[in-house]
Symmetry: C2
Subunit: 335 residues, 2 copies
C-alpha cells in the first residue's frame, strides 16, 4: 500500500505538499497539485485515515449506539442521522447496545477508544448517572429517545405525554366516552408518559379513568392480543381502545377480529409510533406519528454543533407528535 512518502518522492515534492493536496487545504500551485495527483494515481495511493486521525486528533466520525440494527423503529432514526452527517461530510460508526447495560457501556467505551468526535446514544439500559458522569467528562454526545433532567440539553426526544394525550383526544373528538387503554411496560418511561397523556385527555373531558379498562402490556404484538382478549369481556363498557404502540394495536385488532368484532364499526383503535406496517394493517391503522427520521436528524444536528461547533438553525430538544388519520376510528354506534 503506497504511502504519502512514496507519492511525494515520485512527484518530487515534500510529503507536506502531498498532505496539502489530499486535504486540499492551504494553497498548492495547480501544477504541483497535478503532479501529485498523477503520482497518486500511478501508485494507486489510498489515503490512510487512521494515520491522519492519529496525527490530527480528529476522526471525522460520530459514534452511534443503537439498541438493535433491525426493527422498524431504529432504522429510520439512523437513516435520519446518516443523511445529516453525510451532508456535513462526517462518517458514522454504528455499534449495537442490545439494551444491555454492560454491552451498552462497552460499546460507548469502544467508540470513545476509537476517538469518535462525538456520540449519538440511543441507550436504554445504562443508568442516568452513568450518562450524567459522561457529560462531566466533556465527551460530546447526545441522548436520543430519553429525557434526563440533569442533562436535558443533551437529550432529544418525542413529547410522549402530548402523544398520549393526542391519541385519546382523537378518540374523544370522534365521540367516544368509554375508552380502554393498553399500555406498554410501565417500567419504561415512555410507556408511563404516554399513559399520563391518556389520563390528561380523559380528565380534561371530565371522564374518570377506569382501571377495569386498563391493561399493561409490554409493547409486543402478543401482549396487545392478550390485553384485548382480557378486555373484550366488558366490551359493553367501551367503544374504543388506545394502544401505547402499533404492535400492540395490531395484536388488539387481531383479537377483535378473532372475536368477530368489527374494527372500527364495533370498536375503534388507535396506535402509537406509525411504524411501517401500520398502513398495511386491515383496517389501516390510525396512529400517532413518531417522527423517527426527524429525531435522528435532530440528534445529528446537535452532535454536529457540539463536536464541530457547526452553527445550525432549528435545534430542538423535544419534538411534537401528530396524528396520522387512517381507517381504524369511527364514531361510536348508538348502543
Amino acid at each position: 500500500m503506497a504511502t504519502i512518502k512514496q507519492v511525494s518522492e515520485l512527484a518530487g515534492v515534500s510529503s507536506a505538499t502531498v498532505s496539502r493536496v489530499i486535504n486540499n487545504a492551504d494553497s498548492v500551485k495547480e501544477k504541483t497539485r497535478n503532479l501529485v495527483l498523477e503520482a497518486m494515481r500511478t501508485l494507486g495511493y489510498r489515503h490512510n485515515v487512521i494515520a491522519a486521525s492519529l496525527a490530527s486528533n480528529k476522526t471525522n466520525t460520530i459514534g452511534y449506539v443503537v439498541p438493535e440494527l433491525h426493527g422498524s423503529f431504529f432504522g429510520p432514526m439512523m437513516s435520519g442521522s446518516e443523511a445529516e452527517l453525510r451532508n456535513a461530510n462526517k462518517h458514522m460508526f454504528v455499534a449495537t447496545g442490545h439494551s444491555d447495560e454492560k454491552v451498552e457501556q462497552e460499546e460507548i467505551e469502544a467508540l470513545l477508544g476509537r476517538r469518535c468526535d462525538g456520540l449519538i446514544l440511543h441507550v436504554e439500559a445504562v443508568s442516568d448517572s452513568y450518562l450524567i458522569d459522561l457529560a462531566r467528562q466533556d465527551v460530546p454526545f447526545v441522548v436520543v429517545n430519553r429525557y434526563i433532567e440533569e442533562i436535558g440539553d443533551y437529550c432529544i426526544s418525542l413529547d410522549n405525554v402530548q402523544g398520549g394525550y393526542l391519541a385519546t383526544k382523537t378518540l374523544l373528538d370522534a365521540g367516544h366516552k368509554d375508552i380502554a387503554y393498553i399500555a406498554g411496560s410501565l417500567f419504561k418511561a415512555d410507556a408511563r408518559e404516554r399513559l399520563t397523556g391518556h389520563k390528561q385527555a380523559l380528565e380534561e373531558a371530565g371522564i374518570m379513568f377506569n382501571p377495569a379498562l386498563f391493561y399493561e402490556g409490554d409493547f409486543q404484538a402478543h401482549s396487545g392480543f392478550e390485553g384485548m382478549m382480557s378486555l373484550v369481556g366488558h366490551l359493553d363498557a367501551f367503544t374504543a381502545v388506545a394502544c401505547a404502540n402499533d404492535e400492540m394495536a395490531s395484536g388488539a385488532i387481531e383479537a377483535l377480529r378473532q372475536e368477530g368484532i368489527d374494527v372500527p364499526q364495533n370498536c375503534s383503535v388507535i396506535g402509537f409510533d406509525n411504524i411501517e406496517f401500520s398502513s398495511y394493517l386491515t383496517p389501516k391503522l390510525t396512529t400517532v406519528n413518531y417522527p423517527m427520521r426527524e429525531i435522528g436528524q435532530m440528534a445529528a444536528r446537535w452532535i454536529l454543533a457540539r463536536a464541530y461547533g457547526k452553527e445550525t438553525l432549528e435545534l430542538e430538544h423535544v419534538l411534537p407528535p401528530h396524528i396520522i388519520e387512517r381507517d381504524s376510528i369511527t364514531r361510536p354506534r348508538r348502543r
Copy 2:
C-alpha cells in the same frame, strides 16, 4: 486524555508493559498487572484504538456497505453479521451506499481508507467489473445478495431460482393450474431469477407460461396493486397469483379486497421474502422465506475466515429458501 506513557510512569513500568496488560498478551506478573491497572484507573486511561491500529496495522473492524439503514430487509442482515462479528470480537463499521454507483464506490474507498480488515458489500449499483477488480487488489471482502460468476467465491446469496420455483410449486400443489405472476423490475437479477423459477415450476407441471397473466412491477407495494388491477380483468383465467416480493403481494391483496375478491377463497396469493409485516397482513401471507439473518451471519463468517484466517465450519455460498405457510393460499374453487 491520558496516554500509555503517563500510565507507565505512574506505575513505574515501561510503556511496553502497559501495552501488554492492555492487550493481555504475553505474560505479565500479577503484581505488575495490578500496578498498571491501578494507574490506568486513577488516570482515567482510555485505550487509543486509532494509535494501536496504526502501529499494528490491524483495526479489528469489518466495514459493511448497506443500501439503506432502514427497511425490513437490511436490518436483519446487518444484525446477523453483527452477532457473528461480536462473537469474534470484531467491530463493524456501517456505511450507506444508497444504491448509487458513485456513493457506493466512495464508501468502499472510505472503508478501505479506514483500513478495515475486511468488507461486507451489499451493493447494487457498482458494476461487476469494479468488484472483480477489487478482488484483484487482494482486498478481503464478500458480496451479499448478488452473484458474480467470476468471483463466485466472494458471493453469498439466496437461491432465487429455487425460491421462485418453490412459490409456484406450492400453488401448483394446492391444485392451482392457472397462475398469474407479478414480477419485480426485470433489470434486477433477483427479479429475473425468481421469474425463471416460476417458469420452471410451470414447465415441470406441463403448463404453458401465459403472458396475459404476467405483469412486471418494481418491487414496491403500489406496483403490486396496479399489477393486480390490470390482471383482475381476466380473473376467470387464473385462481392464484405469485408475487416476486411481499410488498407487491400486499398491494395485490389490497387490490383484490377493493374489488371484493376474497383472498384466499377466490384468489390465492403467495409472496416472497417473508419480511416482518407479512405476518400482519390479512390474511397472513404465505411466502418464501428469505433467510436474511442467516445470510448476514454467513457473510460475517466468510469475512472472518478471509480477513483473519479464522477456521469456521459450515461455510456456504448459496442458501436455500423455504416456504412459510400461512393463510393466503387455499385450493381453487370449482368453477
